[in-house]
């Protein structure tokens, strides 16, 4: 029971990372009503580029995060320019394919640049777990939890307390009406990419720190998790992404503990299937973005 509780705590903390990934996918989908399959490669690019100052002059963690955010924003804008900007209205499936192409291109570029070898990722949080009573709690997971709370607080403040947030929500709900009222849909779309790409920079850092290395398969990993979280929580629902991420995290840890790794993914997808059948709007299923 003690171990199962420890898995629950770790799953909840690691689930924050899933929630952040799902959150990025959700904001993009909520505003643009299109899937950005290259979001995973934006996260990965941020994680890799964040290593550059470390290799050059042993940069501190905050500089790594900032570098990662800057790189992810640049990659995000590139994705927006190449995969979305010139796609005409009414061709919603086209960006799905263009972004899958971009995902593969960026992924293979990193594979060839690094010979598919993962690069050691320094952790500012230490390697040894904290002892909280009878439980061992990983410091980097605790940092993910804190980062998740901070990021989602900032995102909600931005969405509900700023003019830009109002514009984003207006575009998400009724793009034509928003345009008539003077909101530049293109500008909102680009700024949404900037916002989610900055988030991707943060996710990339914490995802790589929790593994201990930046790896070329990272993009596919986060893409898979992000899509599951988004569907589990409810397409376009930010609270849904948070709930979906936490549920998936706990589910994976407990399933691995009780059933083993082989059944972990089976269980996760069975639950996803059941949610889609019995609650197709997702666990939360309200649109807020």
């Amino acid at each position: 029971m003690l171990d199962a509780t420890e898995q629950f705590i770790n799953g909840l903390m690691f689930g924050c990372l899933y929630a952040l990934i799902g959150g990025g996918f959700t904001i993009l989908f909520g505003v643009m009503r299109r899937f950005n399959m290259a979001y995973g490669s934006t996260i990965m690019a941020g994680a890799y580029v964040a290593l550059v100052p470390v290799y050059l002059f042993r940069a501190p963690a905050w500089l790594m995060v900032l570098t990662g955010i800057a790189a992810a924003v640049l990659v995000g804008l590139l994705v927006e320019f190449c995969c979305f900007r010139f796609i005409k209205k009414g061709h919603e499936l086209a960006p799905l394919m263009t972004t899958i192409g971009m995902l593969i291109v960026i992924n293979e570029a990193i594979v060839h640049a690094t010979d598919a070898v993962g690069l050691k990722y320094p952790s500012p949080f230490g390697d040894v777990a904290l002892e909280l009573g009878q439980f061992l709690v990983r410091r980097d997971y605790l940092a993910v939890l804190v980062a998740g709370v901070v990021c989602f607080t900032l995102i909600f403040l931005l969405l509900y307390r700023t003019r830009f947030g109002r514009a984003m929500r207006a575009v998400a709900e009724r793009p034509e009406a928003a345009q008539i009222l003077g909101v530049s849909v293109r500008r909102v779309n680009v700024l949404t990419f900037v916002l989610t790409s900055a988030l991707a920079g943060v996710i990339g850092f914490f995802a790589a720190v929790s593994v201990g290395s930046a790896r070329p398969d990272m993009a596919f990993f986060v893409t898979g998790k992000g899509l599951v979280v988004m569907v589990l929580g409810g397409l376009g629902s930010l609270p849904g992404a948070i709930v979906g991420g936490l549920v998936l995290g706990v589910l994976e840890f407990e399933a691995t503990w009780f059933l083993g790794a082989t059944y972990r993914d089976i269980l996760a997808f069975v639950i996803l299937f059941l949610v889609l059948v019995f609650r197709p709007q997702g666990l939360v299923g309200t649109r807020t973005t």
Binding site: D3, V111, V117, V128, F253, A261
Partner: protein, 414 residues
């Protein structure tokens, strides 16, 4: 009319592209001999594929710099035709057809992954000389795909790969004899990676049962590309065994070692999978891997081995390891066979030439490898036909470098 013209242009380009490789001059006439290879040159296993390609290219370069291969009284140069299978079975099936029918290579090295080798070898001819068997007649001399028994799939497959059942048999026996106080073991393996799962079920588990000295306290599994192993490592922490067999490749090994450090799991000895003994783990997590022991068939223990390791890194950034060095050995061995085989080296004689080299390879017996003698078993060997026996060593990560932990006495003096 304009559309028709455009269509014609596209059609002509398509025809030219299709015919291009066939129409190109090659073989004896242009003074070349084509050899192929299919490896994971992209994707998650690209580190191993690129290393094998680098070592094979190094061997071809050495042969060409020395004048080439003598075929029908003429010195011809070796040209490499590598294909990327990305450790993906479908891509592997396309690559083998291309090597056999478009690139028209004499023989192929690779593949990297056993999960690709199985379906690829399944497309080869099952019975020599059977006109009813339309399987591909392409000779493979595999360097990497390690799963036990793969050479049995076709008489066209030969392998210079590790014999893992023998390696882990030796390790268990060695531990029993030299460290009898280490009595409990725990194991982890990658359930979705053929090599890792086969090492546990086909090599280590039978060895542990055979010697009966060690109690298996815990066995956990995860996926090859998993990054989170908190639950599994908690189980290992509870097991608290003396020896930990981590039958995982670098991709999952490093995060699992990180988790072990986090949970303060400190077995007295950690023994890894054969594929670990390369540079990849030293780049990825050198501090975490400190002290890990791995069985291997290659370490730079003699001047020749050191020279190859340095040269391959300098010229191709290719890691000399247990899987890549056999590619170098295989090219050099086949060069000698080609000179004996009286090949014609023409497009028309290709199938006949492949068969001649295959038949000679089947009779090689013992040949000189980079660190010692290698015995290639004949076709009628009861256990592992067309597979090799070779010297093994145990290497250990010390100060972020692999150093020899144990070597057979006859290699120590080299």
């Amino acid at each position: 009319m304009k559309r028709l013209t455009g269509f014609k242009v596209i059609a002509l380009v398509a025809v030219a592209l299709l015919l291009g490789p066939v129409a190109a001059p090659a073989f004896q006439g242009e003074g070349t001999l084509r050899i192929g290879g299919m490896w994971a040159l992209s994707g998650g296993a690209a580190f191993f594929g690129k290393a094998a390609l680098g070592l094979a290219t190094l061997a071809a370069d050495e042969i060409n710099e020395a004048g080439g291969v003598t075929v029908a009284g003429k010195r011809v140069k070796i040209t490499m035709h590598p294909q990327d299978d990305a450790c993906n079975a479908e891509q592997g099936l396309a690559a083998v057809r291309r090597l056999a029918t478009v690139d028209k290579v004499l023989f192929s090295l690779g593949p990297t992954c056993s999960s690709v080798a199985e379906p690829v070898f399944g497309t080869l001819q099952k019975k020599l000389g059977d006109s009813g068997d339309t399987g591909l007649q392409l000779l493979f001399f595999t360097d990497t795909a390690t799963k036990f028994g793969l050479a049995k799939l076709s008489p066209w497959v030969f392998r210079n790969t590790p014999d893992e059942p023998a390696m882990y048999d030796f390790i268990v026996k060695y531990l029993k004899e030299t460290k009898p106080e280490l009595k409990t073991v725990m194991v982890s393996y990658e359930s979705d990676f053929a090599h890792s799962a086969a090492t546990w079920k086909g090599a280590l588990e039978p060895a542990l049962k055979k010697y009966g000295h060690h109690e298996i306290k815990e066995v956990v599994d995860w996926r090859w590309l998993d990054t989170e192993m908190g639950a599994q490592i908690t189980k290992l922490r509870r097991a608290n065994a003396d020896v930990y067999f981590a039958l995982a490749h670098t991709t999952s090994m490093c995060p699992s070692l990180k988790e072990m450090k986090s949970q303060r799991v400190r077995p007295k000895m950690i023994i890894g999978i054969t594929s670990l003994a390369g540079t990849e783990v030293l780049i990825n997590c050198p501090d975490l891997a400190e002290g890990v022991i791995s069985p291997t068939n290659f370490a730079p223990i003699n001047p020749k081995a050191k020279q190859i390791a340095d040269k391959s890194w300098e010229k191709y950034k290719a890691d000399s390891n247990i899987h890549s060095v056999p590619a170098y050995e295989n090219v050099h061995l086949i060069k000698g066979l080609i000179e004996k085989a009286q090949l014609k080296n023409t497009e028309e004689s290709l199938l006949e030439d492949r068969r001649k080299v295959r038949d000679l390879l089947a009779k090689v017996g013992t040949f000189q490898g980079v660190i010692g003698k290698i015995t290639l078993h004949p076709e009628d060997h009861p256990v592992k036909p067309r597979d090799v026996d070779k010297d093994m060593l145990l290497v250990q990560v010390k100060n972020a470098k692999w150093s020899v932990f144990w070597a057979p006495p006859h290699l120590k003096g080299n």
